[in-house]
Symmetry: C2
Subunit: 360 residues, 2 copies
Amino acid sequence: MVEQPTPHLIRVRVMPEYTVTVGAGVLASVPQSVGERHLALVSDQTVADLYEAQVAGALRGAGAEVASFHVPPGEDSKSHERWLGLLRGFVRAGLDRDAAVVALGGGVVGDLAGFAAASYLRGLAWYLLPTSLLAMVDASVGGKTAIDLPEGKNLVGAFWQPRAVISDVRTLRSLPSRAFRQGGVELFKTGMLADPALLDRFDAGFGPDAPEEELAEMIARSVAVKARVVSADEREAGVRAHLNLGHSLAHALEAVTAHTLPHGEAVAYGLHYAAIIGRRRGLADVSDRTAALLAWARPAPLPRVTFDDLAPYLARDKKNRGGRQRFVLLEALARPVIVDDVDRREQERAWELLEEEVGR
Amino acid sequence: MVEQPTPHLIRVRVMPEYTVTVGAGVLASVPQSVGERHLALVSDQTVADLYEAQVAGALRGAGAEVASFHVPPGEDSKSHERWLGLLRGFVRAGLDRDAAVVALGGGVVGDLAGFAAASYLRGLAWYLLPTSLLAMVDASVGGKTAIDLPEGKNLVGAFWQPRAVISDVRTLRSLPSRAFRQGGVELFKTGMLADPALLDRFDAGFGPDAPEEELAEMIARSVAVKARVVSADEREAGVRAHLNLGHSLAHALEAVTAHTLPHGEAVAYGLHYAAIIGRRRGLADVSDRTAALLAWARPAPLPRVTFDDLAPYLARDKKNRGGRQRFVLLEALARPVIVDDVDRREQERAWELLEEEVGR
């Protein structure tokens, strides 16, 4: 028996309240959190090969009936076709309103299975078992579920809170180093917004081989920041938008590259872009920090696109309200601010500087 | 200028609270309820020809930008294809999170447009302008939105409350008599559950030509009953299931006839079926009431199916919990009760009696 260190528990004060558990070996405790007797276990093929037998076995051992559903790995699975396929599968498996969905995997599986749970029979209970660093820090708080449209990412979905999130840091051992860095960028972003001490951990050695205890502690701190923000603002009307620091450009870069640029790498560029806008406005100059993040994150080269290519996607950002474009900037580390007066010229100039500074 | 009688206002105490307005000529007041400046007006082609110009004109006159969307009339439009078509249309129309959806039409338009509103950008504000008696009494309270799957009706959707419902009884003048009777059956059901005096209005003369004042009063009373039940139980865990009186068999009849039997006519049969089960159990004998309803509703003949054809659909009813079939019965007029011990033999015998009593 492997020793089980005490896991971190973070309560997320939304309606209804739930707990995020972060620790090493906590997948074994899943049956203690899942009360429903009839379950749809949704995963992607890669994750299923590694962890499905363990999770399904534990749940069946506790008396549950488990129907398994697999989707191909990758963002393409966040389609309305896959969503519809899950829903029809739930009908065939005989799931009624007392059933629940268990999402085992990264962000794609969580978003897709979460939206299937939100919309099947007008809403089933669901549980999230994230197996990527990105999903552990980003998807475990907020209740965001979504699928994509051909016109853009995450345009369809629901706010639908899971009943529990269980993040087993041992699953990160199987995570490729580049995938790990996607989550690291979001963790870094959380540090910039509210816990700057996290930023100092991003030395060359921080990766999937970091000690389990350190991983669990950092993830738990990042989740705690997000839980604080989201508890104050469940439906993203106000301060929750702070969590979109760096995401305006990131979403545009992802869209213009047809999602060949991974999310975290796009956010790393987006954080530096926001830092450049802030620096030019005389707000805090955090661009040395974001430049260091880019060195750690080693993103794919900045896409060879013009600002004109990006502008339509920036204009379509979900943060925009009443037709005005909104950006999250930093007045100082841990002091975010939302502005809606960054005009096109200013955005374009920041893009040119970003291109110069990353030496493309 | 036509005189505007004082409309009935019913407050629905869900989160957030909203008001149902019922009256003659109240469509003219729509711009006073809709605060958003960018609107998607969703309708079916039949209703659009009659009322879209009036509603869109009033909204544009008040300064709103209105994009119109039409679907074909009929249940087939509650498909994932139409839903997806609306969502992609919303993107093309540039709707952001400050926009709103206005659903103008019967139950199909409300369910479809409501679910599109619920799921676009994880949830837009929406307004319901019902133009059928069924939608006025059934869809204006409860926040239920849905689309169908090939496997069954309303299997996908969301609880998503509108910001306001505005029911103009003048639109009922254009409603065919048979369509009117669909709504009459639901109104009768509400009377059985909580306001038996409504039942006495169902004489031969009650139809779309009834005085506007009488229509508005009856609809408002029925909405008030439903608002009371739903306010107490927003997510349908308990007493809200009472509203499904007659609906177990109704949904099975609709499914087995591929929805060629209209909803209200199926419910009329379902109410009599529930009355027969109750009578045989020694509960209240309300089967003379439901027989009178059948005479008023003049439904299409009972489908020539066997109980074996119906049983799988009864077993799939959304009310069922933890694998047990649940039925709503009446201990007395205005005293509903939920039972979960109606076995197959008892269900089958009630079906045989229903067949005999309706003289098929």
